[in-house]
Symmetry: C2
Subunit: 242 residues, 2 copies
DNA sequence: AGACTAAGTGAACTCGGTTCGCTTAACAAG
DNA sequence: CTTGTTAAGCGAACCGAGTTCACTTAGTCT
């Protein structure tokens, strides 16, 4: 049997296989469906985080047995991938029309970040375009169009869009679970910085107070502006001067 | 008992508590020590990935019982945090002296990325500075110094350094487990792009061939250059024009 | 009506992390 | 040297996760 090849969930091969047999499903109709499972998984994921999403919990929520779930998905890994794409399909919207490219990209970046912050359970599972479903690629498509329209090559556009996605994901992942605006958290961070070896970390010790108050949003805005500036710098030389 | 507060491993509070009682350890000497455990965990992590690192496996490797591990570590979470800091302490080196700021930062970014690629098991556990141990903060300290030296405020320097770290982490995390240079992988990606709905993804369908060949390194270099350019622009706002 | 097959079930199985009560060994004081 | 104290370590369990298996149920198609 040659189809025993272990196809990792979310890979290109996997998505191909899934879309190919998508129509075969739902002929025998019962209650359970892939979408229903994905939606339920998503609601658990959002309300109680990644750890709360267990097969038992999901089965209980759907009032079916655990084993029944395996008729629609082959593993928990796959479940997460499907739920992720569903979330993206539901939660990621196209940017408003009529904005300039810079504002559009900015809008997308913020929108993507807000989306991830709204679904903290998903962040850990995010991977690159190789692991995204069709829904997840829509935002990418839009970015590509924008970047190509302003003069980047297809290749550059892809690298640029990926860089943005990378940065957004990194930003959220990097600051997962820590509320940098929480005064208690700030105080702890200050004490941590102050307690470092002044020989090895002179700056952090000296500026503990100030550093403890820099939030994750500040860092995000800086990086975002930097990427935008870089694009601007890259396309303006080719523009006919004023 | 007020110290029953659940202190999450890796948080500022946790590191403070740990350093405070660090000297109490190792008085009664036996075979096991925190460093030994961390080193062993690391070697398992590096050679066989995050999933292979189980308490049973670790105990077997150290030829002790699982329960013995809990004399030094209170949970698997904590184990990972400790191992991480140990890895950073061992694997992250200071940049060579005498480079300009731009080259230094570039060196650091590449060094950090290479480090993460060399320890793929660690990436999933990376969090922001709030969750880093003293060793992990050394690179940050160096960056801060550089950025302040070239004219950024402490606050800006921190946001900037964080943005770099964020981007590096995001880049590795985003492309975890996918070898973009692998021809098979490229072929699959191309087929995936080609198979998309041309209505919704016209650009990706039309440029499937080209897109499938853009690697993760390309994206990384673009973003890195962008961040560096942004700093340059920020510190030389009004350079006397030619 | 009967064969076929997908959907769903309940009970297991395996393998994680973690806890419990116990033993062992190092040290300090008498 | 003995003895009390305490940290280090042990074996065996416990609990909860993902997954599989043999089986039943209910549509669908001759």
């Amino acid at each position: 049997m040659d189809d025993a090849t272990p196809v990792r969930a979310g890979t290109a091969a996997w998505w191909l296989a899934r879309t190919e047999k998508a129509d075969d499903r739902q002929r025998r109709r019962r209650m359970l469906s892939l979408d229903l499972i994905a939606d339920t998984a998503l609601s658990v994921l959002d309300s109680e985080g990644a750890d709360a999403l267990t097969m038992r919990r999901l089965a209980h929520e759907l009032r079916c047995s655990q084993a029944a779930l395996y008729r629609h998905i082959t593993s928990r890994d796959e479940l997460v991938v499907v739920a992720m794409d569903r979330a993206v399909g539901l939660g990621l919207h196209a940017p408003p029309e009529g904005l300039g490219w810079r504002q559009t990209v900015e809008w997308q970046a913020h929108s993507f970040r807000d989306f991830l912050l709204a679904h903290p359970g998903l962040v850990a599972f995010i991977r690159g375009t190789e692991r995204l479903g069709p829904s997840s690629l829509s935002g990418m498509e839009h970015s590509l169009g924008q970047f190509i329209a302003i003069g980047l090559s297809v290749r550059e556009a892809y690298a640029t869009a990926s860089a943005f996605a990378t940065f957004v994901v990194g930003s959220v992942q990097f600051n997962m679970g820590v509320d940098t605006a929480d005064p208690d958290e700030q105080r702890l961070r200050r004490r941590l910085y102050e307690g470092l070896d002044p020989q090895r970390h002179p700056i952090m010790v000296a500026n503990a107070e100030e550093l403890s108050r820099v939030g994750s949003r500040e860092e995000f805005e800086f990086g975002l502006a930097a990427l935008l500036d870089a694009i601007e710098a890259r396309i303006t030389p080719r523009r006919p001067g004023p």
